[in-house]
Amino acid sequence: MTDALTISELRIRTRSHPIVDGIDLALRRGGIHGLAGESGSGKTMTALAVLGLLPGSMTASGSIRLADDTSAGVTTGGSAGGSAGGSIELVGASRQVLGAVRGRRVAMVFQDPSTSLHPQLTVGRQLTDHLRHHLGLGKAAARSKAEALLERVRVPDARASLARYPHQFSGGQRQRIAIAVALACDPSVLLADEPTTALDVTVQAGVLQLLRELVDDGGLSILLVTHDLGVMSAVADEVTVMRQGLVVESAPREQLFTAPQDAYTRSLLAALPGSSFEESPEELVEELVEGREGAAGSGGSDAPVAASDHDVEGGAR
């Protein structure tokens, strides 16, 4: 089995309507799989479903299987019950199984590191607590491991940083610390939900390089959830595009950006400055004003009139 995580026929719904409507996705071992889509497309909920962290009002069905590489000798409490064919089923898994998976086998980083880190605990404490819980390390061993982690994510002056609090770091360094916390127990899968969206572009570049290195150094697979196709193009190996709870296209990175098969993917690229399918601002305005996105139905008939007496002719009709 070469996939670290296999999602099949995943459905997530609230009582009244579906959020994710039967998607398949395979996260290759040692790769970065980008999950793209607009707000409300279900990409974040898909990531949360992996860890059984969906809001109480939502239910998941289908299957999410995590490759079981417990051969390293680490046996988890629930793997005997949930494991089949070398993988662990996460949909509908017991609290015991999920407890052993969360933070240990599958970890997550979020958009805003200042909410995912505890403001009143030192960085050292946040890095060692789950090391001691999951791996049963002693105080000194956990501390030296924490220091090594901070060095790995390149937080300057690692030893002194352990005694500091999250607010004493910049946004980019806080995100690096959040990544260090996530990596502490050597998870096989990292779920990253918009990890660079809140960061400045110069800081984002550094975090993207770090994510790529972590994967290339071996052992880690990343599911990268982001709406930013520029970020996807920089680090993802494969990209899945979601829309309204469905996968519209899934392809290797280069193919998706150079030969998209789906019209929706192409429309995303058309609106993206710098992509090979980019449309001119005039064309984009024309499409917007003609109301191709459909303003409640009745705008269709007078739309051509609206465009013609309006000074936005792009010349490429």
Partner: protein, 284 residues
């Protein structure tokens, strides 16, 4: 004041708090001509929003002058503007907080129309503005919650333009929108403001969009403008080390998997340097 200049800002300083005050904007001056789009870019906390708010008179200026068509722009906070000052309109980041959720959108666009009339300018029909931003004119009787985020922002743009502004100040108007509509809405703003002959100050951290719609660009770092000039000139040949780092860090959506360049910590010291030759650059 040269011909065609709509907005002129000189030596603007904005400070917050006291003992010691935090200088968010440290002596910034610029001009915007009629029909021109000037973009203001920089990282979060560099003072772009403070500068925008100081320019329209929401934020108190510690020093500096702002003139709209030669008339001094007073610091009024959120108080009512004189008819002359409604010639400068603002579009904010979040249309959910700039539109009144309890009033019909036609009435809200009507506020802009009334501002134009009070100034002795031409009136217009709110429905017509909806059509120009690509929405169904029949929707004037609807409320903001019936629209998507991108549509709401277009309503806010319609309201601002209905006031027949000479100057439009837009503070991150596209960053709350979905990626697929960001460039379109920015391009629409350019098209409508150029058509109206208004100047526009477009604040954004999205450099690729800025490149598509701005005639000139101001690059801000730590409260100062470190580089400015014609957009293409700055892009083709950035002189200031901060501008260079900023442009190199933009990930390109070309599918080639190239990682953007991350600046080394040690390089950041040079970003504070003043480089006179990087200012006011023209293609000539």
């Amino acid at each position: 004041m040269s011909a065609g200049t709509v907005l002129e800002a000189e030596g603007i300083v904005v400070e917050y708090g006291r003992r010691p005050p935090l200088r968010a904007v440290d002596g910034v001056g610029f001009r915007v001509a009629a029909g021109e789009v000037v973009a203001l870019v920089g990282e979060s906390g560099c003072g772009k929003s403070s500068l925008a708010r100081a320019v329209v008179g929401i934020e108190k200026r510690r020093a500096g002058d702002v003139r709209l068509n030669g008339a001094d722009v007073p610091t009024l906070g959120l108080r009512r503007r004189s008819p002359v000052m409604t010639g400068m309109q603002m579009v904010f980041q979040d249309p959910n907080s700039s539109l009144n959720p309890r009033r019909r959108i036609g009435e809200q666009i009507g506020d802009g129309v009334r501002a134009a009339l009070a100034r002795g300018d031409e009136g217009s029909d709110p429905a017509d503005w909806l059509r120009r931003v690509g929405l169904d004119p029949a929707m004037v009787t609807r409320f903001p919650h019936e629209f998507s985020g991108g549509q709401k922002q277009r309503i806010a743009i319609a309201r601002a333009l209905a006031a027949r502004p000479r100057m439009l100040v837009a503070d991150e108007p596209i960053s709350a929108l979905d990626a697929s509509t960001q460039t379109s809405v920015a391009a629409l703003m350019r098209s409508l403001s150029v058509e109206a002959g208004a100047g526009m100050l477009f604040i954004s951290h999205d450099l690729s969009v800025v490149r598509r719609i701005a005639d000139r660009v101001l690059v801000m770092y730590r409260g100062r403008v470190v580089e400015s000039g014609d957009t293409e000139t700055v892009w083709q040949n950035p002189l200031h080390p901060y501008t260079r780092a900023l442009l190199a860090a933009i990930p390109l959506p070309d599918g080639l998997g190239r990682l953007p360049l991350a600046p080394a910590e040690a390089d950041r010291a040079a970003w504070l340097d003043d480089l006179p030759e990087a200012l006011e650059r023209t293609s000539a």
